[in-house]
């Protein structure tokens, strides 16, 4: 009886395996391209305080005159810091798939469902269509270019990010 119970316990322990869970590298995408071409799109179309300018959102972004990492109200309009830009890019990197750029959440969430995009609650809240009505929107094409590996001059400057290079 005792031997049987021991055998059963050992068998069960043997059945309970573990999940192999190797680390995955974050996608290596071009930081200057993000700073000078993607960040302006996010500023203009995503990072309002009621939307992704809220740190509780899985995808969130710091933006001048909106959500800031540190500082007082009077400092809210200062250029984005290098740290804020880095955090913004890392937040975006969680939603990209460089191996299949068109399958990236960063593109499919704001793309209208009629054009093949995912459900996006922002469309319901504002009732004014989704961010990108189709995949020919120039801003959609810009973000897609970043995910697909396009690069920008490291010395590029975009208004509002001068202090963050």
């Amino acid at each position: 009886m005792k031997a049987g119970l021991t055998l059963a316990a050992v068998t069960l322990l043997g059945l309970a395996a573990c999940v192999d869970n190797p680390p995955q590298a974050l996608p290596q995408l071009d930081a200057p391209y993000y700073r000078c071409r993607v960040q302006p799109v996010v500023d203009a179309r995503c990072s309002m305080l009621a939307c992704h300018g809220d740190v509780r959102r899985p995808f969130h972004s710091f933006t001048r005159n909106r959500m800031r990492l540190v500082g007082s109200n009077e400092q809210r309009n200062l250029p984005l810091s290098a740290e804020e830009l880095e955090l913004n890019m890392k937040s975006a990197l969680g939603f990209v798939d460089p191996a299949q750029p068109d399958e990236s959440w960063l593109l499919l969430k704001p793309l209208d469902a009629d054009a093949g995009g995912y459900y996006h609650r922002g469309k319901e809240i504002f009732q004014a269509g989704d961010v990108f009505l189709d995949d020919e929107d120039p801003d959609y094409v810009t973000i897609r270019g970043w995910i697909a590996g396009e690069t920008e001059d490291p010395a590029c400057v975009f208004a509002g990010t001068e202090g963050a290079q």
Partner: protein, 365 residues
């Protein structure tokens, strides 16, 4: 669906001719769940059963529950609160072949983001001059997981459950039971609303997010084992004490132990109570982390996969009145369970306390 279910209930309860000695039953239960994580659930279940032929029983049930939640899972994704309704119907039948019983059942459950069909079969038999029983059951559930208000999201999940159980009378006053359950999940088991967090916490965010967030990703396959057993000692004709233990292991590295103690009190044959205390402890699934240092193939922030322990105490009282009005009997039950969960490594919700209150009425005719 609600109207069809009501029609089926009425047919079973009143429209079936019954053999001598058979019983028909209609039961209704109403329960309220509430916890300090701002989640409330009201559940109503109606069941009818009848014995349309000798040895045979047919039954049907209809469940509806209404959930209102602003739990930390919801709030941490910047959603204020959600309200949801779930409905489920079940039909089943069994036949007693004289010491051997075969049962079949089917169920359907619907929520705005979930549809599930389940079928099951079980076979139970008495052995050793009714001193022992043996049972075998299998259930299959085919689920479609969606995302509320999102027609573009749909994932499949297949769940198999096999259960082997038995019981043995050891002495005239001592009964033992034991069993083994095997569960297999194949498909999407994550929550489409939940995100894993990567990187250091951003200052001022109260730990709600990290530098990056990615949709939760679980392995597509999970094998679950449970070994359980219990001893029930009768103290005189009406009272009993019972102790139970359950060991749980799965292929995600999660181990759990459940210990339960129960006291059954019968002041008369028709009025009694049950007291119970349950303790549960588990470690974490081996891919669970509250905050990941780097991206992993599998990532989750599901607190139910984190290390946790739980205490529960409960009281249930029940009474039966024979020859009540036009019925053969009326049975009433009331139940209260209070619980406290502790999530050791989940700082957003270190503890969760709550209760479940339930009342039930059943008529036999």
């Amino acid at each position: 669906m609600g109207r069809a279910a009501c029609g089926l209930l009425a047919l079973l309860a009143f429209g079936v001719a019954r053999p001598v000695g058979a019983e028909n039953r209609v039961a209704s239960n109403l329960s309220l769940y509430s916890d300090d994580d701002h989640t409330d659930v009201i559940t109503s279940v109606t069941r009818v059963s009848g014995d349309p032929w000798s040895g045979g029983t047919l039954e049907a049930s209809y469940l509806i529950d209404i959930i209102s939640s602003a739990s930390i899972d919801v709030v941490s994704s910047a959603t204020d609160r959600f309200d949801e309704k779930r409905q489920a119907i079940g039909v089943g039948g069994r036949h007693d072949f004289g010491g051997k019983t075969l049962s079949l059942n089917y169920g359907y459950s619907h929520e705005p983001d979930y549809d599930g069909h389940g079928v099951g079969a079980s076979f139970d038999m008495e052995l050793a001059e009714r001193n022992a029983t043996l049972g075998l059951s299998y259930a299959l559930e085919i689920s479609k997981i969606g995302r509320s208000a999102d027609p573009t999201f749909s994932r499949d999940l297949l769940t198999h459950a096999i259960d082997v159980k038995g019981s043995q009378i050891l002495t005239p006053w001592l009964l033992a039971d034991f069993g083994y359950s095997l569960g297999i999940q194949d498909g999407y088991t994550a929550k489409p609303y939940r995100y894993a967090r990567i990187g250091a916490v951003v200052p001022g965010d109260d730990g709600l997010t990290g530098v990056s967030a990615v949709p939760e990703q679980h392995p597509d396959f999970r094998m679950r084992h449970a070994l359980y057993g219990g001893l029930k000692a009768h103290l005189g004709a009406e009272h009993a004490v019972e102790s139970r233990y359950r060991l749980y292991l799965d292929s995600w590295g999660l181990n759990g132990h459940t210990v339960e103690l129960l006291g059954h009190l019968g002041w008369t044959r028709s009025f009694g109570a049950r007291l119970r205390y349950r303790f549960y402890w588990q470690n974490a699934a081996n891919f669970w982390q509250f905050q990941y240092d780097e991206p992993r193939e599998f990532m989750t922030r599901d607190r139910e996969l984190s290390p946790l322990s739980a205490h529960m105490v409960g009281l249930k009282v029940f009474g039966r009145i024979e020859d009540f009005w036009v019925f053969e009997a009326l049975q009433l039950t009331a139940k209260f369970d209070g619980f406290r969960y502790s999530y050791r490594d989940f700082p957003l919700l270190p503890h969760r306390m709550g209760f479940v209150m339930e009342s039930g009425v059943e008529v036999v005719f």
